[in-house]
Symmetry: C2
Subunit: 675 residues, 2 copies
């Protein structure tokens, strides 16, 4: 029952945003506004006051009066200044003073007010005087946190009480002209005093307190660069180390990325190790997959010796920070048969009737190099603590960003507990969920706390598919908790578009990812070097995948995509419109090969308009619907758009303008509206 | 947190229907099905079993397995047999047996299963044998209430335990051929036994138990006839009585109505009594408004003496029941200044500083003949009990249907408590909310328990407006709790359409009300006698309104609408498609003056197709989109539709067919598809 009982007559309902009845928080970043709406009403025709309550978790509640939108809907906004948790709810009460004041004004206008009407108001004002004098501290506090309708500067609740008594007496004074008493009754002074000391004894509180998870800015706006440190040696054939990667940081920084993400850096198992190109048997010199974690040299808190020491790793973190970048680690909770946990905690795995440990399976396929962890173990509490300890180990080493491998194959309750516990202590943590699975599972991980999520972007390969998908991600309730991170490639996924579309596909897909989504990532140097050969036809696996072998990459070759990526990333940084997703808006175009969309910053000053030719094999041209008016700006004269990739200005006029994009050049316009 | 903690790995979310996080029940009538859907999944790839739990309130829980719809969505249906409250929720668990069985079958097909694989299954079967033998009674009960996959007829859990042990041994028997052991593993016998004794120790329960309010059929399908008993005397100018109304019941029954609804029957106040046509001062012989309730002769439990005695009233109830009809009373919780409560319980009213009782106001208008009840009174508990006693008094007199006057001006918490309390004891009660107010307030009353509601139908006067409104009422969540009752007129509302549209407007509006909405009502005899003169131009009040004077109506005059109304009501009764609203579907037509829609019964056998000309002044014709295929039936040959109002058959062919409706005749086609 949402209905208040007894004498509480206000009903509050349908608060938005509210995810699954308040089971999960909505997400924001520091400095964002949270707009809250609610239905609220009372029986009859009495005036109601509806208030948004909010606070930083465990802080003092603040209040702001909600604006009536009509039709019993109310709205207010509060700002979340710092990372952490905030809470909000709604309450309301009947305002007998406003009801009376409004009625008196109408009666006075109609010439039918009576002495008794004024006495009713005098009683209400006297009661407010009692409230002001009875609890001056609390009332003064409530006043300070109130709706802001008072100018302030009064001498406090005691003085207010005195003044209210005077005004009550003035209303009662039958010797004064009616008109003068009505003037007092409707004066802004009396109104603001009465607003400050409302009778909230019959207040209705919305039954749930709702949550906001506030992250730092980079949770919403980031550019990731995935790189295998073992492939960063300057010498072909050598095993790269953290120090080699440190030397490559200037290159990554020049590309414009801010998160350098490393696949697992732990010792790699020997038993059933996979060979090059995922061969079932490894050759003697095959390095194995970094995701087959654990050997006699250690598990998830250890470092593969050839990469360096913990100090080397910390030095890498420091060096990245020096470039304004940070290091992200991949945590994959699975074990090679050689992982210490297998010996020390066999109860954390499924044991088979023959005493062996159950390996990973997707029947009839077997993955004997990997032992999954059994989250149904009766020793689950110790397991959860140990896994949390892994995160804490790397947090201590300076890591604040984690890409979590296949979180959807570990218990959801574990992640919810883990992220909540760690984030409470380290509000700057960012968790990226690598879950390529069905939508409700992906959304479920985002709801329980993951700050960013991989998506289906890779498999949305035409304008209609992208438009539909982005509409779901940016305009539905999903936008409250799911932050997409768009990856044109990963070490696991070389999409056919890239295999067959060549350089124009790489350019278009990166531009799409980086402008449709405020979070973007690539796996390099494969991406910027236009690596596009699959292991075999029909496969999304790379030939000579770095997952199974060390690669040497020649950088700074002509024809690579470095300058294009750097230009896109520069445009992203310099244009606040590209730092968010809920401002995405698609525009009409008369050519189905073109995708057109805009983003506009909250203050309306920064307007980005993007056109991408998704036909990677032929030039496409068309009329696109774009003008300042089309994005809600009051501007009708001819205007200029500047392509930030080519630094070319175009003079446009009217709603419909012409574009032509040739895959032989740059198949993307990234326009900024000139002001 | 919706996430199950510890070892519980199943996640259940987004159960539908669920109104405001389970704060309010959904509504059904006896014999209806309740279709429940939920999201459910576990981490990883294990099989899950998801079960709908349901029961009659305080009864034994039953379970039915939910069907996987794909994309982690599940669905099941249960039937609500009797009026009262039902409850439902969802639970689920991981089924390690099904996971194993599915994997084994795939491995066997690929020729890679091993002895260990079979031993894993043998352990699972042995554990089920233990469950069967450990708790035979509980397990047998669970089996009986289970998914129905077992044929039944087994000797009970003890025998099942023995058989499971045998099957486990067969799986272990290394002397048998692998293929034979796999056959046992995948046999339907083993599958159904394992389904009957699942391991539910790590089951996840959805955190909320949801409610269904089940009403009797008439809550969903009813035809109301409002009549002033004081205007039913056979002698012009005489005050009618219950006995006179009893004599008119055959007339009302012939019209085809089943609820005869009386405005308040209580003593009428004298103080500030309103005169004819709502004059501020009553003449000496003016009878006053029945809504000015209470005099020295009694209040809400008394009867206006000229109408008869309580026994006369009970006789009227009996007589109506004899026609298959029932009497509905209007309960209006407001008091004339002469009401006994004003003397006995002045604390239930707002007292003004001069000691007088606050009368009703809509500033600057005053309604001094009416004292509203103060639901903020500190004596609210005694007040609530007294008001409930009024309902109980009339329930004791045989009334089961109440039209509640202006419920939105009384505390919502009161109604929720009242209806829940009374309906628990009298599940056959029907409450109709007469709240003409903003949508969220009307929906709020429906959510908290009113079985039927007045609507905006009267003010939806063109095909587009009706289509939009009905789409909201029948296709959104609103349909779960809000049952519209469409009234073309009431004593308060004579719409301009009826004032100016004449007979065709009356015909069209009744046909629309009676076929768009399964609940319909008219205020008669004003309606069937085409009474259409307003008090003054621009007013929706009747001239010589029966609210303020006694009227004499000459019945059975030629030109009245009785035969038309009777024909529509007969069609309603005989066609199950017209007994519900969620089956409403609009059809295209190439003339904007025509409204076309169909309803089809749950079993698909009864198909009604309606076309109404909403231009009351000129014939309109057009092509309407209707064929059996258009309502989802597989039937493409020429077909026959029969107009149930004129008993004329039409041979139609194809999707588009021609109609012409002339307001000079009957501006409505009420077709039934002939089978």
């Amino acid at each position: 029952m949402l209905i208040p009982h007894g004498r509480r007559r206000v009903v509050i309902d349908r608060v938005f945003p509210e995810i699954d009845c308040g089971s999960f928080p909505v997400k924001r970043v520091e400095g964002d506004d949270v707009t809250v709406e609610a239905d609220a009403f009372a029986d009859g025709h009495d005036a109601v006051r509806i208030v948004l309550r909010y606070r930083r978790r465990n802080g003092r509640w603040q209040e702001t009066e909600m604006e009536a939108l009509g039709n019993d809907r109310y709205r207010a906004v509060f700002r979340v200044a710092k990372p952490g948790r905030y809470e909000y709810s709604v309450c309301g009460w009947i305002d007998h003073f406003r009801t009376w004041q409004d009625g008196l004004a109408k009666k006075h206008a109609a010439g039918v007010e009576t002495d008794v009407d004024l006495l009713i108001g005098a009683d209400l004002v006297e009661a407010a005087a009692s409230r002001a004098s009875a609890a001056p501290a609390a009332a003064a506090q409530a006043k300070a946190a109130g709706s802001g309708t008072r100018a302030g500067g009064r001498a406090g609740a005691g003085a207010d009480a005195e003044r209210l008594k005077e005004l009550s007496a003035a209303l009662r004074n039958a010797k004064t002209l009616h008109a003068e008493r009505v003037r007092v009754a409707t004066s802004s002074e009396l109104t603001s005093l009465m607003d400050a000391y409302p009778d909230r004894s019959l207040q209705t509180d919305y039954p749930r307190t709702l949550q906001v998870k506030v992250d730092r800015e980079r949770a919403a706006f980031s550019a990731w660069y995935e790189v295998f440190p073992r492939s960063t040696s300057p010498e072909p054939g050598e095993h790269g180390a953290f120090a080699d990667l440190a030397n490559r940081l200037d290159y990554i920084a020049e590309l414009g990325f801010d998160i350098v993400y490393l696949p697992p850096i732990h010792p790699i198992g020997h038993t059933k190790r996979k060979g090059r190109n995922n061969a079932l048997e490894a050759g003697p010199h095959d390095p194995g997959s970094p995701w087959a974690i654990g050997s006699e040299e250690g598990g998830h808190t250890a470092i593969h010796p050839e990469l360096g020491s913990l100090d080397d790793f910390k030095a890498l973190v420091e060096a990245a920070n020096g470039y304004g970048m940070e290091i992200a680690l991949d945590l994959a909770f699975q074990c090679s048969p050689d992982h210490p946990w297998v010996r020390e905690h066999p109860e954390w795995f499924v044991l088979r009737p023959d005493g062996s440990v159950q390996f990973a399976e997707n029947p009839p396929k077997k993955y004997e190099d990997i032992y999954p962890i059994n989250f149904e173990t009766e020793d689950w509490e110790a397991l959860w603590q140990e896994l949390k300890g892994v995160f804490e180990h790397w947090i201590d080493a300076g890591v604040r960003v984690f890409r979590v491998d296949n979180p959807h194959t570990k218990a959801y309750g574990f992640w919810e507990w883990l992220i909540d516990d760690l984030t409470t202590r380290y509000p700057d943590l960012i968790f990226l969920a690598e879950a390529f699975t069905r939508p409700r599972r992906m959304y479920g991980l985002a709801k329980l706390g993951f700050n960013q999520s991989y998506t289906y972007f890779t498999w949305r390969n035409d304008p209609t598919g992208l438009r539909d998908y982005l509409t779901e991600l940016t305009t539905t309730e999903v936008a409250e908790y799911f932050r997409p991170n768009f990856w044109p490639n990963t070490p696991d996924i070389l999409h056919e578009d890239l295999q067959l579309g060549g350089r124009p596909a790489f350019l278009a897909r990166y531009a799409l990812a980086a402008t449709l989504s405020s979070n973007v990532g690539i796996y390099g140097p494969a991406f910027e070097k236009v690596e596009h050969t699959p292991r075999e036809e029909g496969s999304e696996e790379y030939l000579h995948s770095e997952k199974y072998e060390i690669r040497y990459w020649e950088l700074h070759e002509s024809g690579d995509l470095t300058s294009f990526i750097a230009a896109v990333n520069r445009a992203r940084r310099e244009n606040p419109a590209l730092h968010r997703n809920r401002n995405l808006r698609f525009h009409a175009v008369d050519n189905p090969n073109l995708l057109c969309y805009s983003k506009i910053s909250d203050d309306g000053k920064n307007v980005i308009f993007v056109v991408v030719n998704m036909d990677y094999h032929a030039p496409q041209a068309g009329w696109v619907e774009f003008s300042p008016a089309a994005v809600g700006l009051s501007h009708t004269a001819p205007f200029t758009v500047r392509d930030l990739l080519t630094d070319t200005a175009y003079r446009w006029d009217g709603y419909w303008n012409f574009v032509r994009l040739d895959p032989a050049g740059v198949p993307v316009h990234l326009f900024r509206l000139e002001r």
